[in-house]
Amino acid sequence: MRAVRLTVTAAATAAALTALSACTAKSDAKDGDAIQVTAADSKCETSAKSVPAGHVTLKIENKGSKATEVEILFPDDRIVSEKENIGPGTKYTLTAEVKAGAYEIACRPGMKGHGVRQKLTVTGGGTTAARNPKLDAAVAQYRTYAQDQADETLPKAETFVKAVKAGDLDAAKKAYGLSRLGWERTEPVAESFGDIDPKVDVREDGLEDGQKWTGWHRLEKALWQDKKIGAEEKALADQLLKDLKDWQGRVGKAEITPTSMANGAKELLDEVATGKVTGEEDRYAHTDLVDFKGNVEGAQKAYELLKPVAAKNDPALAGELDRQFAALDTLLDKYRKDKTSYDFVSYDKVTKEQRKELSDAVNALAEPLSKLAAAVVK
């Protein structure tokens, strides 16, 4: 990854999402305004379905047997405000500044999954843009996907980090590629936070003056080129895990819009075109094809979720994208043992001619993919 890049949200239709500032500290909100939230293992009851815009207070009580998490969500599942880890039998007051619009309150018993939802309408305080429920659903599902990728990455990253800390070169090398997969699939979301990507995925040539080199690629160089693990590398491994946990905790608050999903898919292909096809991304480990596959899978996921809308607005484009995703998948399959394996051919074994073929297939997909955003907002 490059150190500096546009974030996924830059040109997004963020205006459609009502801007707000949220806080999770206890507050002295007036009792009359507060919404009582009774959370249990399989239910989530709210005392009001409608409140005026402004300062909104949730008085939460967990009557279930598991720790729960309560959130106020935008229609596309972006978190307005949340409180995690509310223990059984405990109470908590959550407050937020909320503008007019449609929201949901979610209780997540066990702090995972879709949770139990209640509608919340916030009235007054200006107009809200019309929303397309299909697109809200696409964004919500994509957010779930992004969260899943982060959740699944952590144990794989832990395996990698443990191997580094044990000084086990072979085990660390083996765990390296897979530890990156979930990140690569959802990189535009991770990059939208701005500060995490430069810590975990920067390459040596992407460092700015005075920036310390940390993250995957620093360890990659230690493992493949320097072939040694010292105290510094072990500390960097710990740091990597810490930064990835930060990522995991922030996916829910990422600003994701239909446009940013579509552009994110295109950006993933840009990543492939500029970093993977050239072999620059994993220049020591040569695991570029694993990242390549991850980027394409992530782009395909975003596309599949947007497809119901895109195919209606531009059926020819959807047909072309289906064909080109399939063509690229087929081509990539030639470089792995079977269709479920992420054990890809080392990129230094991929000939110049083969790289040209891969590059042509990426161009063939990326060009129509660059038109997806327009087809979604049409």
């Binding site: 040109a11 579509a262 080109q324 040209k356 042509d360 161009n363 063939a364 997909l365 327009a374």
Partner: protein, 416 residues
């Protein structure tokens, strides 16, 4: 009108006929009239102003039309098996070429469209003149292995044989199809290839491309022949765009010369000829002049005074380039040259990666380039200083007739 006028029209009565006579001419020789638009007549105004060259005509522009200063030549490979998708691309290409040669942006332009979508046109030619841009398409031998076109391959479209001294780089050789973009402004030529490549993604992919920065031939009568990178004028007796008879005899495929779809077309040979610039520069003036068979100052053949003076071949060394390449030494074989000098930086050994990107159009490669190159590759004194490192041959279809026509229609349509 009188009966005698009909039987034996006088000059005066022809003028009197006016419109009727012109209409008759158009009906009988429609091809010839259209031909004049892009093929044969030089438009002096366009040549002077960097204006637009007519895209439509009986022949494709970019062959007999005046040679521009710059080149971007691209060879493409076909990446789809879907005939309909490929034909749709050819139509899209034609529409884009029609606009670009007129100095207009592709599609909806480079700005002002949907903010969420990339613009249709890439924008770098905005504000530039049409710069006499010509775009010329050709189909290579390997193209006819695709889309069930095997029986449409012209006999004249042969695979070039290996010539002595060839050192061809596979990555700079061949191609299913090509587009030659010539313009007076390099940015206009590059813009054209870039936008066609973009439209083609998924259907075609660029196999190789070559930039040329200085024309080495002229198709304009009486113009000075430009010098090549060896500092010499070569091909001074090139076919001019106004020489209708020589064009017909040596360049255009006529009716019955091959498959009907090629009538009005031509065959193109492209060769990337690397020059050993540094060793050439260390060669004495006498040897340089002997190698070419010309003097360096004027470009006159040995023993003559002026560039365009008829050469006295026997006065030259037997292996002199002009002597070997001259039609008189080759049973009259004549080709239309349209090559460009190139310099692709240096080669990593501190030497210029430079030479001649040779482009030649002819009616039949078997009667044009092949016999000529057999002779040159075997005997030419110049071989010590050059090496052919890239090669391709293409069937160049006839011109796009009008706004409803498209590149390759005669090839893909049943009737032609």
């Amino acid at each position: 009108m009188t009966e005698t006028q009909e039987n034996n029209p006088s000059r005066r009565s022809l003028i009197g006929w006016g419109g009727a006579g012109l209409a008759l001419g158009a009906a009988v020789a429609g091809g010839a009239v259209a031909m004049a638009k892009a093929g044969d007549d030089v438009d002096p105004v366009a040549a002077e102003t960097g204006g637009a060259v007519e895209f439509h005509g009986a022949h494709q522009a970019g062959i007999a039309t005046p040679v521009q200063d710059r080149l971007h030549f691209a060879a493409f490979d076909v990446k789809t098996e879907d005939r309909d998708a490929f034909i749709a691309m050819l139509k899209d290409w034609t529409a884009a070429a029609r606009r670009m040669t007129a100095g207009k942006a592709v599609g909806e332009g480079a700005y002002g469209g949907l903010a969420e979508a990339p613009p249709d046109d890439t924008g770098e030619a905005l504000g530039l003149k049409p710069s006499r841009l010509t775009l010329t398409i050709g189909f290579g031998p390997s193209f006819f292995d695709k889309f069930g076109l095997a029986d449409r391959r012209p006999e004249a479209l042969v695979d070039l044989p290996k010539f002595p001294g060839d050192n061809l780089d596979r990555t700079r050789t061949g191609g299913d199809l090509c587009v030659q973009a010539c313009a007076d402004d390099p940015q206009v030529a590059v813009h054209a290839i870039r936008n066609l490549a973009r439209i083609g993604f998924g259907k075609v992919a660029i196999r190789w491309s070559q930039l040329g920065f200085g024309k080495t031939s002229s198709t304009t009568p009486d113009a000075q022949t430009p010098r090549n990178l060896m500092g010499f004028k070569d091909g001074t007796r090139n076919i001019a765009g106004t020489e209708t008879d020589r064009l017909k005899k040596f360049v255009w495929v006529g009716e019955g010369d091959g498959p009907a779809w090629m009538t009005g077309g031509s065959y193109l040979v492209a060769r990337r000829i690397r020059m050993n610039i540094e060793t050439w520069d260390r060669t004495s003036l006498q040897e340089q002049e002997d190698v070419f068979g010309r003097d360096k100052r004027e470009g006159a053949p040995v023993g003559r005074a002026k560039e365009h003076d008829a050469p006295f071949l026997k006065a030259m060394k037997p292996d002199a380039h002009v002597r070997l390449a001259h039609p008189d030494s080759n049973n009259g074989v004549t080709i239309l040259r349209r090559g460009y000098s190139f310099t692709d930086g240096t080669d990593g050994l501190g030497r210029l990666d430079a030479g001649l990107f040779f482009l030649a159009y002819q009616q039949d490669v078997r009667k044009g380039f092949i016999p000529l190159q057999r002779r040159l590759s075997a005997q030419d004194a110049l071989n010590e200083y050059i090496q052919h490192v890239g090669s391709a041959v293409f069937a160049v279809p006839p011109g796009v007739r009008d706004s409803g026509d498209w590149w390759g229609r005669t090839l893909f349509s049943k009737e032609a």
